[in-house]
């Protein structure tokens, strides 16, 4: 069964005024349980608006969202049921940290879910394991941490709620390569243990290609294409026309291919690319 079914979803900011802006325009998409779907799109293409609608925090202007087959604005009497099933890591989530200690901040979600002190503690420690944060930091103030650590604490706050559908809105933006890598691995380790659906929004083609089962391209509020990373990225020249790009390795193999060599150009990861180039060299 699909985790999320999105039907004719639209969102319009400032409807009826001169400032009217269609942020999401009639989107249809099905997201399967257990899959990681990457969403890429230029700045202002509507990714964040889309993510907030999926999490139930923003009400669509038109269209429907079915979570495990149930309409989130009709069949769920309680908003919180939706919030607890769908976890959204907002863009720049470190802005929402508030508690006096890291522990309390991560525990905020599970406590609101109604877990006892003991259960909450278990969940906080489990979430800490996913994000690889030293237990020594638990009693520090979240405001004293570095940017990357703050980000991981905020993500742990969502992991601790154990959502079936996990949405991450640009979780790696503004971080150094090592911190980005860490966050990607945190997401993968959460996913490998919990399964469930993961929706991963990013401006980094490399990491999107690496972790996604499918990639959706958003352009001016519409979903232009949904396919495997290989099929989405190999035609990188047409991606340029909507201000997107492909991973470097894809461009390299594509250029080698266009010079007349017999190389598979549907390659998006460095490992596969290396193998393919070595194979070509040996021939």
């Amino acid at each position: 069964m699909s985790a999320l079914d999105i039907k004719n979803l639209s969102y319009i900011y400032n409807q009826g005024t001169d400032l009217e802006k269609i942020a999401v325009n009639n989107v249809n998409l099905s997201i399967n349980d257990g899959e990681i779907i990457g969403i890429i799109g230029h700045t202002g293409s509507g990714k964040s608006t889309f993510a907030q609608m999926l999490s139930g925090t923003v009400k669509p202007t038109a269209g429907k969202i079915f979570l495990y087959g149930k309409d989130i604005w009709k069949d769920y009497k309680n908003r919180k049921e939706v919030y607890f099933k769908v976890g959204l890591v907002f863009q720049y989530p470190e802005k929402q940290l508030f508690a006096q200690t890291v522990y309390e901040d991560i525990a905020f979600g599970p406590k609101n879910q109604g877990f006892s002190e003991g259960e909450t503690e278990e969940k906080v420690f489990e979430a800490l394991d996913f994000v690889n944060i030293d237990k020594k930091l638990l009693n520090r103030s979240p405001f004293e941490l570095s940017g990357g650590e703050k980000r991981r604490v905020a993500i742990a706050g969502i992991f601790a709620m154990n959502p079936g559908v996990l949405i991450l809105d640009e979780p790696t933006s503004g971080l150094d390569p090592i911190s980005r890598e860490k966050i990607i691995n945190n997401i993968l380790s959460y996913h490998s243990k919990k399964r469930g659906a993961v929706i991963f929004i990013s401006h980094f083609m490399e990491e999107t290609a690496r972790i996604s089962d499918r990639v959706a391209i958003m352009d001016r509020g519409k979903i232009k294409m949904v396919d495997t990373p290989e099929n989405v990225f190999y035609d990188y020249k047409s991606l340029k026309s909507i201000n997107l790009d492909a991973p470097q390795i894809t461009k390299i193999v594509s250029n080698i291919h266009s010079k007349g060599y017999n190389i598979n150009k549907k390659i998006v990861t460095v490992e596969k690319g290396t193998q393919e180039i070595l194979r070509l060299l040996r021939e």
């Binding site: 900011y13 400032n14 409807q15 009826g16 005024t17 001169d18 400032l19 907030q52 999490s55 139930g56 925090t57 923003v58 908003r79 919180k80 919030y83 607890f84 769908v86 976890g87 959204l88 907002f90 989530p93 802005k95 929402q96 940290l97 508030f98 508690a99 905020f108 979600g109 609101n112 879910q113 405001f143 706050g157 969502i158 709620m161």
Partner: protein, 267 residues
């Protein structure tokens, strides 16, 4: 949709109100304040409402936006006026349980609602049609005389401009944080007042933190570009009083005379 137009936002445009000199707009607004607090009978009230309608029309901003951006304040005023109706004085119209409604109290409530709504709408019309830098220019002009008390008009004008600019930003930020905490299960709709206050801590804390950080970042940014109050700054635009500005002043003075006539001279 509260993320729409917020209180005090500037909406670019080219209506008659947009083209007025900001100093004239602020001056007219001050006169309008006097007018609205003077009007208290049916004739002056009609003049007041009519003049507000004309101002809204000339601003080129739809009436809907006026209601939208002031709805929370209007709601509060409406609520307090509803309570005011039960405030027991004058001649009773009807009694219900311990509540007494008098003709006097109804009249007072209606007058207060109309006055405050007019004021809110006219001040909104000024804010909608005047860019922040123009407002600060006008404020600076009016504060110039204060320099004899060693008050620097330019500094105060800059401070006011910055505060005005921060309002919509903080407003948007608040919405974002509210959504983020809601999705973590924060219980913001609790009826119990103590619990409600407590449940807003996860919103107020990050908001304060971000606001202070933003303010200090801005201060550093301004200082690093050598902002100081020693040199005299000039405005990028030269303002000249035009026929339009004169007509505006005449309009507002005619209304003032009309209201004064209705209130004090007509019997």
């Amino acid at each position: 949709m509260i993320e729409n137009v917020c209180l005090g936002q500037y909406i670019p445009g080219s209506s008659i109100l947009h083209r007025l000199d900001p100093r004239i707009k602020i001056l007219s607004f001050v006169i309008f304040m006097i007018i609205s607090f003077m009007s208290g009978n049916i004739f002056s009230m009609s003049i007041l409402i009519l003049s507000v309608a004309v101002i809204i029309l000339l601003s080129g901003v739809p009436l809907k936006v006026y209601f939208q951006s002031t709805k929370y304040i209007l709601f509060l005023i409406f609520l307090s006026c509803v309570f005011n109706v039960f405030y027991d004085y004058g001649e009773a119209v009807f009694k219900f349980w311990v509540l007494t409604v008098t003709l006097e109290s109804i009249k007072n409530s209606v007058i207060i609602i109309l006055r405050v709504t007019s004021l809110m709408f006219v001040s909104s019309s000024v804010m909608f049609t005047t860019s922040h830098s123009n407002i600060s220019f006008a404020i600076e002009t009016f504060m110039k005389p204060l320099s004899i008390f060693k008050i620097n008009a330019q500094d105060i004008a800059t401070m006011i401009t910055i505060s005005l600019k921060f309002v919509p930003i903080i407003f948007e930020e608040t919405n974002k944080i509210i959504n983020a905490q809601r999705s973590r299960g924060a219980d913001l709709d609790n009826k119990n007042i103590i619990k409600k206050v407590k449940s807003y801590i996860p919103i107020i804390f990050p908001l304060f933190f971000l606001s202070f950080k933003r303010a200090s970042d801005l201060a550093v940014a301004m200082e690093s570009r050598c902002y100081n109050n020693i040199i005299k700054r000039t405005s990028i635009r030269e303002f000249k009083i035009s026929i339009l500005d004169i007509s505006c002043l005449i309009y507002i003075i005619v209304i003032l005379i009309g209201v004064v006539y209705c209130e004090y001279l007509m019997i």
